[in-house]
């Protein structure tokens, strides 16, 4: 049981922080529905809606008069292919590191994880040199090739953490019953790791959305861009800002992602910290 005082302290801490941390999203949401007259009128209180607001015109403009939907499609395409490559490499590796590799598996796991700390900002110059050499500039293929360099170490670590939380006795029982290792893997291990695998998928996909450096360095033509650079480099031009559309463009990918994060948060913590920090 917790006392009333503890309860009130919790609210007193969490309330203000929640307001400050979430304020930008409230502001983006309101801005995205405002009319020009309302947005650029500094005399009205800006936190509500004024003349001509709320309106969905900004969303209409974003979808029909910009290349936003092309960038969304590019992002999804790159994201899906990268996630498939990531799972193909990280799933077996994560499992083997958790189960089969024994003592040196632990060190190798930590080693793979440390490569996740080598940042794209250190690697983008040599990468762009390579991309230029093999003639992949302005092609989505360049991103598909390079993104697994951070999703694979991350996902391997996460999946290793998950597989460690599944009791080994379960597999031993199947093995004793005469199943082969592959059968055990397919029929026993993977079905119960589906939530863990989904977590790896979501967080790998969000790493793709979070990349800015590679997309900025490799891709310059508008129709090959992804959301992360397209919105910033194409929708902001000189001094002509189109704030309502910009805010709509930033919110659309954010909202589903935020909901998924919340649903999968506990599994993320289990996997991320299950590897070693436990």
């Amino acid at each position: 049981m917790i006392t009333l005082r503890e309860k009130l302290t919790s609210y007193a801490v969490l309330g203000p922080f929640a307001i400050v941390l979430a304020f930008p999203f409230y502001w983006m949401l309101w801005t995205s529905f405002k009319s020009d007259i309302d947005l650029y009128n500094v005399n009205d209180v800006p936190f509500g809606f004024g003349k001509g607001s709320p309106t969905t015109r900004n969303y209409g403009f974003l979808f029909h008069h910009t290349e936003y939907l092309t960038w969304v499609r590019n992002t999804v395409l790159v994201g899906v292919v990268v996630v498939v490559i990531t799972l193909a490499l990280a799933l077996p590796a994560g499992y083997a590191l958790a189960r089969l590799a024994g003592r040196w598996g632990q060190s190798l796991g930590v080693g793979i994880f440390l490569t996740y700390l080598v940042p794209p900002t250190l690697l983008f110059l040599p990468m762009s040199w390579v991309i230029a050499h093999i003639g992949l500039q302005d092609r989505l293929l360049s991103l598909i090739l390079v993104f697994p360099s951070f999703t694979v170490p991350f996902a391997t670590w996460l999946l290793m953490g998950f597989f460690k939380t599944i009791p080994a006795e379960l597999e031993d029982a199947a093995l004793v019953d005469g199943a082969s290792r592959l059968q055990t893997l397919l029929r026993v291990v993977f079905p119960i790791s589906v939530p863990g695998i989904l977590t790896a998928v979501i967080f790998s996909f969000s790493l793709v959305l979070n990349d800015f450096v590679y997309a900025l360095a490799f891709i310059t033509t508008s129709h090959s861009k992804t959301i992360s650079t397209g919105v910033f480099t194409e929708l902001i031009r000189g001094d002509v800002f189109f704030w309502q559309g910009l805010m709509a463009a930033t919110l659309i990918p954010t909202i589903p992602l935020a909901l998924l994060y919340n649903v999968f948060l506990n599994r993320f913590i289990a996997g991320f910290t299950g590897g070693a920090f436990r």
């Binding site: 929640a18 941390l21 930008p24 077996p92 694979v152 360095a217 910009l246």
Partner: protein, 329 residues
């Protein structure tokens, strides 16, 4: 796991262990080769490029030794980038640790409406940084900044005129007083732009630190809590003598992540200020981008970004040490 493997009867052991070792290398091999090729390869290439005068146009380059490193070092813009990288990292991480500590501690209590508070607090982490930073660009806009609106407008119209900027002007802040008819240019003034960048870095990393802290708090055994309660420890004393020592290793892990994420980030500064005004907010990453891609001096750009490497090595070593300590305790 190791214990289970050793406890197996020795009879069928040999064959099985050999099978395991083979299977393990088949399963791990592709990932390791892939990572070596896509992380190790470029890292080595980066070191090679930094020792040549390779350019974006020609791609080829001649060996110039450490020239790029010394050349970068003697550039005042580089010095400022280095200083800013350290400044942004240290200040934002100090803010992150304090705030995240408070939030995580409060979030462990089962209060009504906790899930919605958690959702709101975690939002900045879930949002893709290249997009959410554009939201901040609008918040810090030169003409329509909502921060400035709130500062200089009468918040309680009517009899009790209340202006927030008057309160702010009482505080001892490192920049001058706020003038209501010439409100602060958050991204246009060198000092304010530093503060703006730091605020966004802290904002996006607080939720991540909260998540790591929550994992740490959850790992404190219930017996410890009970024992502390029996001994009459509560409130701040309990925090100081029970929670803090147990939290310290995982807090360090969160801090090390935060250091890497801030020091090596390009997105926030690039979108907010582009390094400006007058290069006052350049970081090593943005300066490397400007030199390597914009100016096309691939070699020198690589050298600038390699100045991050010592920091990363230190963090990696500390991470290994603390990961082990967390495991032991």
């Amino acid at each position: 796991m190791v214990a289970v493997a050793e406890a197996r009867p020795r009879g069928r052991g040999r064959e099985l262990i050999e099978g395991r070792a083979f299977l393990a290398s088949v399963l791990i091999g592709p990932a390791v080769v892939f990572i070596l090729a896509l992380v190790g390869g470029p890292l080595v290439l980066s070191i090679y490029l930094s020792l040549t005068n390779a350019t974006g146009g020609a791609l080829g380059g001649h060996w110039v030794g450490l020239h790029n490193f010394t050349d970068a070092w003697s550039d005042p813009n580089f010095r400022r980038s280095l200083r800013n990288t350290l400044l942004f990292t240290i200040v934002s991480q100090a803010i992150v640790l304090v705030c995240a500590g408070l939030i995580a501690h409060a979030l462990t209590r089962p209060v009504r409406g906790r899930w919605i508070l958690r959702l709101l607090i975690l939002l900045p982490w879930a949002a893709p940084v290249p997009l959410s930073t554009i939201g901040w660009l609008w918040i810090y806009d030169s003409l329509f900044s909502v921060v400035n609106w709130t500062l200089v407008h009468d918040l309680f119209p009517g009899h009790h005129a209340f202006y927030l900027y008057k309160v702010v002007n009482w505080l001892p802040l490192p920049f001058g007083d706020i003038q209501p008819f010439n409100p602060p240019q958050w991204l246009g003034n060198s000092t304010l732009a530093l503060a703006a960048v730091i605020s966004v870095h802290a904002w996006r990393l607080i939720p991540f630190a909260v998540v790591i802290f929550l994992a740490g708090l959850a790992s404190i055994p219930a017996e410890v809590e009970d024992a502390a309660k029996i001994d009459g420890a509560r409130g701040f004393r309990k925090f100081l003598h029970v929670t803090l020592p147990l939290q310290l290793p995982i807090a360090t892990v969160a801090l090390l992540f935060g250091i890497v994420f801030t020091a090596t980030d390009l997105t926030v500064v690039y979108i907010l200020t582009g390094g400006g005004p007058f290069n006052s907010t350049q970081m090593l990453t943005t300066w490397a981008y400007t030199t390597g891609i914009r100016s096309g001096s691939l070699g020198e750009g690589a050298a600038i970004s390699l100045y991050l490497l010592p920091l990363l090595v230190v963090v990696a070593v500390l991470m290994l040490r603390f990961a082990r300590r967390v495991e032991v305790s």
